[in-house]
């Protein structure tokens, strides 16, 4: 079948626009929904000199056969293991759409930019390891929504601002490491933070040392007997 010149030109224009939209979508990912789409969009933003993301194939229905990710029995993504992978680039907001994620292990890379507030949507997260990267900006308040979090290690980055009070509401928190950053302000001591010592906060020159409330009297003072009747104990 022979196309007319005008039809060809239209088709060319159309396909050009389609390609442009697709490329735009891949990079900015206006509405990434599936786990494959989210991860592939993130891959597009990363510099991967060791080619650790080689197996990340966008044509598959789910990422469960990819390397460095793990799924559960329902083929939902539960782990990302990319520690020490020589990766550079940012974290993208869409990572907050991986709603079944339990372990986000991205430590010891060159990841830069801010921690997206959308990571606070990962309510099943048990471990958030972003330590030893080049992250900057504030620790988002929204991380206080991660009510199942056990490990929060953000040490050795360039994070600034104050420690969000919302983190003290995470009762499951076992290991906290915010050391070696540029954090400022007070160190909370209430809620789950009663378990944490200066080791969790050291090497943040702008952080004020934890204050201890004044001690109560060493022994309870016995009530003095009343003159009128027998004293009660």
């Amino acid at each position: 079948m022979r196309w007319k010149k005008t039809e060809l030109a239209d088709m060319q224009m159309g396909s050009f626009f389609l390609l442009a939209i697709l490329a735009f979508g891949l990079v900015l990912n206006v509405s990434a929904n599936t786990e494959v789409e989210v991860l592939y969009a993130w891959k597009a933003n990363l510099i991967d000199p060791n080619n650790v993301l080689q197996s990340w194939d966008a044509t598959l229905a789910n990422p469960c056969t990819w390397l460095h990710v793990t799924c559960n029995g329902d083929n939902n993504l539960v782990r990302i293991d990319l520690g020490k992978a020589n990766l550079s680039g940012p974290l993208i907001p869409q990572l907050g759409q991986l709603s079944n994620l339990m372990y986000l292990e991205l430590y010891d890379n060159n990841i830069s930019g801010a921690i997206p507030i959308e990571l606070g949507n990962l309510i099943k997260l048990v471990s958030l390891d972003l330590f030893s990267n080049r992250l900057s900006g504030h620790i988002p308040d929204s991380l206080g929504n991660l009510q199942r979090l056990r490990f929060l290690r953000l040490n050795n980055n360039s994070l600034s601002g104050s420690i969000p009070r919302s983190l003290t509401t995470i009762a499951t928190l076992q290991v906290l490491d915010l050391s070696s950053n540029h954090l400022t302000g007070d160190i909370p001591i209430n809620g789950s933070f009663a378990f944490f010592t200066p080791m969790s906060f050291r090497n943040n020159p702008g952080l004020k040392p934890q204050k201890f409330p004044p001690p109560p009297p060493m022994f309870q003072i016995a009530p003095t007997p009343s003159a009128k009747g027998p004293s009660s104990s």
Partner: protein
């Protein structure tokens, strides 16, 4: 502060190193600057690298100083061919980070250990949790326990054979949330200074030989003091 005390041990050993360096250096003046820089960096490292080789030394010394009749430590704690994060895979050891030899918690509950409280634990400088419960440890709880465990948050020495008094210095372990000393042979008074531990939520001393007034700890119920020689005050009947 406990932090300074813990670090001072490092400084003392470093200073004796510096002393011997200086002797060498006086003989070869050319290398003086290099040595000064190296030693300055060594001193700095006490602040930056808080324990990795020291943690390996800590666990090795604990293993060497305790009797291990069931071979629990012998099988799992293998010190040949240590790499980054090796000790993190020893049974009972929980690390701060998976690939760094820095001990966060040590849980050696119910493994049949015998011997005295291992002072070498001082070298686990990042330790926050220690569980020695249900063993056959004996002797006194060290009088300078605050120097050995400056950052301890949970300490469980229950179900052992510790004797003597509860050391006063434990009141300097300001980060203590939980202190369990049940089922030992501890005697004398409970130090009143324990009321200084503002984070203390759990404190139990049942089944010991303690006497005298209990410290002012409103959060601690009467049951936590049960089965002792003659404790009084607080939630218990008043002292005569």
């Amino acid at each position: 502060m406990c932090l300074i005390r813990a670090c001072s041990q490092e400084y003392i050993s470093r200073f004796s190193l510096v002393g011997s360096w200086l002797k060498m250096v006086l003989m070869s003046g050319r290398t003086f600057c290099a040595h000064v820089i190296i030693n300055f960096l060594l001193l700095l490292s006490c602040n930056i690298i808080y324990g990795t080789e020291t943690d390996i030394f800590c666990l090795k010394s604990i293993k060497d100083s305790l009797e291990d009749p069931y071979g629990y430590l012998k099988s799992s704690w293998d010190f040949n061919n240590i790499t980054q994060g090796s000790i993190c895979r020893f049974t009972g050891v929980e690390c701060w980070h998976p690939d760094e030899n820095r001990v966060l918690n040590l849980n050696l509950s119910n493994v049949g250990l015998k011997g005295q409280f291992p002072r070498a634990i001082q070298n686990c400088t990042s330790l926050t949790g220690l569980d020695f419960s249900i063993n056959k440890l004996s002797g006194k709880i060290p009088a300078d326990i605050d120097v050995l465990l400056p950052f301890v948050v949970t300490l469980d020495l229950s179900y052992n054979m510790f004797s003597g008094e509860i050391p006063k210095s434990i009141a300097n372990c300001s980060y203590l949330n939980s202190l369990k000393l049940d089922r030992n042979a501890l005697s004398g008074r409970i130090p009143g200074e324990l009321s200084f531990l503002t984070r203390l939520r759990t404190f139990t001393v049942t089944n010991n030989l303690l006497r005298g007034p209990v410290p002012n700890l409103p959060q601690v119920p009467a049951e936590s003091y049960a089965n002792n020689s003659d404790l009084c005050g607080g939630p218990l009947p008043p002292c005569s």
